[in-house]
C-alpha cells in the first residue's frame, strides 16, 4: 500500500516537476511547480514528517507560489516564443544531467543501506511538531536567530530593489 502511494506521489511529483521545465507558459510552469510541491509534501507525509509536509504546503504552495504568480502577472509574461533550439545547450544539459544520474546511480548502488526498509519508529506517539520544535529551539537556536537576521535582510533587500522610488 505504502509502496503504491509512494509511486503515485513520486510519479506525479516528477511529472509536474518535468512540466515546470518543459511547459512554455510561465503560468503553467508555476502551477506545475505548485503541484509538484504538493506531491512532495505528500511524500514527506509518507515519511512521517507531518510538520514539514504542512510547512511545505503552506510556505511553498501558499506563499512562494503566489509570489511567483504575482510577479508573472506583474511583468505580464507571455508564453515563451519558441526561439531557435539551442542544440548546444541541449547536448550540454543532457551530458551534465546524465553524467550526474550515472554518478548518483553509482553511489546508490554501491552504498549498502539504500535497500533498507523503513524502520519502525519506537514511539509513534511523540508529535513530530514538538520534536522538531524542541530540536530547533534548543539545539539549533543560533542558526534560527541567524535566519531571523537573514529574513530581515531579505526584507530590506526587497524594498531596496523593488520600490519604484526610494524615499
Amino acid at each position: 500500500m505504502q509502496l503504491v502511494l509512494f509511486w503515485v506521489f513520486a510519479a506525479l511529483m516528477l511529472i509536474f516537476g518535468a512540466a515546470v521545465v518543459f511547459l512554455r507558459n510561465p503560468v503553467s510552469s508555476a502551477l506545475s511547480l505548485v503541484m509538484s510541491f504538493v506531491f512532495l509534501a505528500a511524500l514527506f507525509i509518507t515519511l512521517d514528517a507531518f510538520f514539514i509536509g504542512v510547512v511545505q504546503v503552506l510556505i511553498y504552495a501558499g506563499a512562494v507560489m503566489v509570489l511567483f504568480l504575482f510577479i508573472i502577472m506583474l511583468l505580464d509574461l507571455r508564453t515563451e516564443q519558441p526561439r531557435r533550439v539551442n542544440i548546444g545547450a541541449w547536448i550540454g544539459g543532457a551530458f551534465v544531467v546524465f553524467g550526474f544520474i550515472g554518478l548518483l546511480g553509482k553511489v546508490l548502488s554501491s552504498a549498502v543501506p539504500f535497500n533498507m526498509q523503513k524502520p519502525p519508529i519506537s514511539n509513534p506517539q511523540i508529535s513530530d511538531v514538538s520534536a522538531v520544535g524542541e530540536t530547533l529551539f534548543r539545539q539549533f537556536n543560533l542558526p534560527f536567530q541567524i535566519v531571523g537576521v537573514l529574513l530581515l535582510v531579505a526584507t530590506i533587500g526587497v524594498v531596496v530593489l523593488s520600490k519604484k522610488e526610494l524615499k
Binding site: N86, A89, G92, G93, F95, V96, V97, G99, F100, L103, K106, V107
Partner: protein
C-alpha cells in the same frame, strides 16, 4: 742599486714614461718625445751596466697571484746571459729608433700616442725578456701585441692601417690561444709555471709519452703567431701600415723576435721533445722559403723587407729546431736585429725623402741623391744576404750549417733561400737606387735630416761587425758544428752571386717588373684564403648564429612560451561567454567532473 733591483728599474721605467705620456703627453710634443727617449736611454744604460755585472742573480720575484697550494704566479726576473744579451739588444736598438722617430715623425699628429705606444712597447718587450715564468711571459706577450696594435694603427684614419692593426692583434691572439693551452698543460703536469721549476721536472714530463711534445708544440703556437711563421705570417706584411720606425723596431728587430727568444728560453723543454723540434724546424724552413719567394715579387719597399723579416725569422726558428743550443738562433736574432733595423730605417729615410712614397716602381736613381742612405742600405743588404765579412754571413751560415748536418733537406732549403734573399734584396737595391728616377718625387729627393741619418750610421756599424768573432764571443758561447760539408760554403757563395747577379741584371733599369709570377706576388693566395674563411666561414656562421638567436633560441625560450601563454589566456577568456546558461552548464560539468574524480 744592485743587480737585483736594476731589472725592475729597467722594466718599469718605460711604463712610467708611458703613463706620464698618457696623462701629460697631449700638452707638449717635446715632453712626449723627451719622456719616451729618456726612459729608453735610462733603460739602455742600465742594461749595459747590468750586462757587465758578473754572476748569477738569485731569486728575485714578487708574488703576483698566490692561491696557496694551488697556483703561484710570481712576477720575477731572470737574469742570465740570454736575457742580458737580449736586454742590451732591445734597449740599444730601441733607443736609436726612438731618436730616429724624432725626425721621422716630425710634423705628424698623434705624437703622444706614438711615443706612448713606443714606451709601452718597450715595457712589454722588456717584460718578455725578463720574465721568469710562463704567465708573466704571456702577460707581456699580450701587451706587446697591444702596443703593436696601437702603433700599427697609428694612422687609424687610413682604412688599411685600421684593418692591419686589427688583424695583427687577432692573429697574435690566435697564436696565444695555443700558447695558453700549452702553459696550462705544462702547469697541469708540473704544478708550476716558473721556468726553472718546470725544467727541473723535465724527466717527469718525458716519462709521460707524447705529453711534452704536445705541450711544446702548443707553446710553439705562440712563436708562430708572434714571429709570423707559417701559417700565421699574414699580419706582418700588413703591419707595415704603421710608421716606418715602428716597423723597424717592432716588426723587424725586436718584437717579432720575441717568439724566437721564447724558444730559446724554453730550450731545455725542446731538447727533451725531439718530435716537437722536428716540427719546429720544418715550420721554420718552410716559412723561410715561402717568405723568400713571396718577397721576390713585392713592390712596396717595406713589404719586401717585411717578407724578408719573415724569412729571417724562419731561419731563426729553424735554428731553434736544429741547433744544439739556444745561442745559435739567438746569434742570428742578434745580428738580424741590427741589420734589419738598419734596412728599415734606410727604407724610412727613402720614404721620407720621397714624401711617403713606398712603391719601389716610383723610385729609382736615388744613389746620388741620398748617398748615406744608399751606403747604409748596401751594408744592410750585404749583411742580410750573408755576404762574407758582414754579420749575417756568420749567424746565418751557422744555422744553415747546423741544419745541413741535422736535417739535410731543411738545410738545402735554407741554402736555396739564401739565394732568394740575395735576389730580392738586390732587386730592391737596383730598382730603388740604380737606374733613372721613375717619378717626380724621386727626381727631387734629398737626403734625410741628421737626426735620422745618424742612427743609420750608428746601426750600420753593428750591422757590419756584429758577427765578428770578438763581438760574438762577447755575447754568445757558440758551438761550431763539426763535419760541415765543404761544399756548403761554396754553395752559399754561389747562391749569393747567382741571386745578386740575376737581380742586378734584371732590374738595372726597367720601367716595370720584368718578371711576373702571380703565385708569389699574391703570396701563395694565403691572405685570400684567410679572407675567404673570415668572410664565408666565420661571418656566415656569425650571421647564422645571429639569425638563430633571434629566430630559434629566442623563439623557443621566449617568444613561443610567452605567445603561447598569451594565446591560451586569450582563448580561455572566451569561456567567459557572458551567458548564464553557459555558466550553468560549465558549472554542472565541473560538478560532474569533480564528483567523478572523487568517486573514481
Amino acid at each position: 742599486m744592485n743587480a737585483a733591483t736594476a731589472p725592475w728599474i729597467i722594466l718599469f721605467t718605460p711604463l712610467v714614461s708611458a703613463a706620464l705620456i698618457l696623462f701629460f703627453g697631449r700638452y707638449s710634443r717635446k715632453l712626449s718625445a723627451g719622456l719616451a727617449i729618456g726612459g729608453a736611454l735610462l733603460a739602455c744604460a742600465l742594461s749595459w751596466w747590468l750586462f757587465f755585472q758578473p754572476g748569477e742573480v738569485g731569486p728575485n720575484q714578487l708574488l703576483w697571484i698566490n692561491v696557496p697550494d694551488v697556483l703561484t704566479v710570481p712576477l720575477g726576473m731572470t737574469i742570465d746571459p740570454l736575457s742580458r744579451t737580449m736586454l742590451v739588444v732591445v734597449n740599444t736598438i730601441a733607443s736609436l729608433v726612438f731618436i730616429y722617430s724624432l725626425g721621422y715623425m716630425a710634423g705628424e699628429e698623434g705624437y703622444w700616442r706614438y711615443f706612448g705606444g713606443l714606451a709601452l712597447f718597450l715595457f712589454s718587450m722588456l717584460g718578455i725578456v725578463l720574465a721568469n715564468n710562463f704567465v708573466m711571459m704571456f702577460i707581456f706577450w699580450e701587451l706587446v701585441g697591444l702596443s703593436s696594435y696601437i702603433l700599427i694603427g697609428h694612422y687609424y684614419s687610413r682604412p688599411s692601417a685600421a684593418d692591419a692593426c686589427k688583424q695583427a692583434f687577432i692573429v697574435n691572439r690566435l697564436g696565444d690561444f695555443g700558447f695558453m693551452i700549452g702553459i696550462l698543460t705544462l702547469w697541469f703536469a708540473t704544478g708550476s709555471v716558473v721556468f726553472g721549476e718546470i725544467f727541473a721536472k723535465v724527466p717527469l714530463l718525458e716519462s709521460q709519452g707524447h705529453y711534452l711534445t704536445i705541450a711544446c708544440l702548443l707553446i710553439f703556437c705562440g712563436t708562430i703567431g708572434k714571429s709570423a711563421q707559417l701559417p700565421l705570417h699574414v699580419w706582418l706584411p700588413n703591419s707595415m701600415e704603421g710608421p716606418t720606425p715602428v716597423s723597424s723596431l717592432l716588426h723587424a728587430a725586436t718584437m717579432v723576435a720575441a717568439g724566437v727568444y721564447m724558444l730559446a728560453r724554453v730550450f731545455p723543454l725542446l731538447v727533451a721533445a725531439p718530435i716537437a723540434r722536428d716540427f719546429i724546424a720544418w715550420v721554420g724552413a718552410l716559412t723561410c722559403l715561402a717568405a723568400g719567394l713571396m718577397a721576390t715579387q713585392q713592390n712596396d719597399i717595406k713589404r719586401i723587407l717585411a717578407y724578408s723579416t719573415i724569412s729571417q725569422l724562419g731561419y731563426m726558428v729553424l735554428g731553434a729546431g736544429v741547433a744544439p743550443g739556444p745561442d745559435v738562433p739567438m746569434f742570428h736574432l742578434f745580428t738580424h736585429a741590427f741589420f734589419k733595423c738598419l734596412l728599415f730605417l734606410c727604407a724610412g729615410s727613402v720614404i721620407v725623402a720621397l714624401h711617403h712614397e713606398q712603391d719601389i716602381w716610383h723610385m729609382g736613381g736615388l744613389k746620388s741623391k741620398t748617398p748615406i742612405t744608399f751606403a747604409c742600405l748596401v751594408v744592410g743588404t750585404l749583411a742580410l744576404s750573408g755576404f762574407p765579412g758582414f754579420s749575417g754571413y756568420y749567424s746565418k751560415d751557422l744555422i744553415i750549417a747546423w741544419a745541413v748536418i741535422e736535417k739535410p733537406i731543411l738545410g738545402w732549403i735554407a741554402v736555396l733561400t739564401a739565394g732568394l734573399t740575395a735576389f730580392y734584396m738586390f732587386r730592391l737595391l737596383a730598382v730603388v737606387f740604380l737606374g733613372t728616377p721613375r717619378s717626380d718625387h724621386a727626381r727631387h729627393a734629398r737626403e734625410s735630416p741628421a737626426v735620422m741619418v745618424v742612427p743609420l750610421i750608428l746601426l750600420a756599424i753593428p750591422a757590419w761587425v756584429a758577427g765578428y768573432a770578438p763581438v760574438e764571443g762577447f755575447f754568445f758561447h757558440l758551438k761550431e758544428p763539426e763535419h760541415v760539408p765543404e761544399i756548403l760554403h761554396y754553395a752559399l757563395l754561389a747562391m749569393f752571386v747567382l741571386g745578386a747577379g740575376l737581380a742586378i741584371l734584371l732590374y738595372r733599369n726597367p720601367a716595370k717588373d720584368p718578371v711576373v709570377i702571380p703565385l708569389f706576388a699574391n703570396r701563395f693566395y694565403i691572405d685570400d684564403l684567410y679572407n675567404w674563411i673570415v668572410k664565408n666561414v666565420q661571418d656566415s656562421l656569425a650571421s647564422l648564429g645571429g639569425w638563430a638567436d633571434r629566430w630559434v633560441v629566442d623563439l623557443f625560450v621566449a617568444q613561443i612560451p610567452s605567445r603561447f601563454t598569451w594565446a591560451c589566456g586569450y582563448i580561455l577568456r572566451f569561456l567567459q561567454l557572458g551567458n548564464i546558461q553557459a555558466y550553468a552548464f560549465f558549472f554542472g560539468a565541473g560538478v560532474v567532473g569533480l564528483i567523478y574524480i572523487l568517486l573514481a
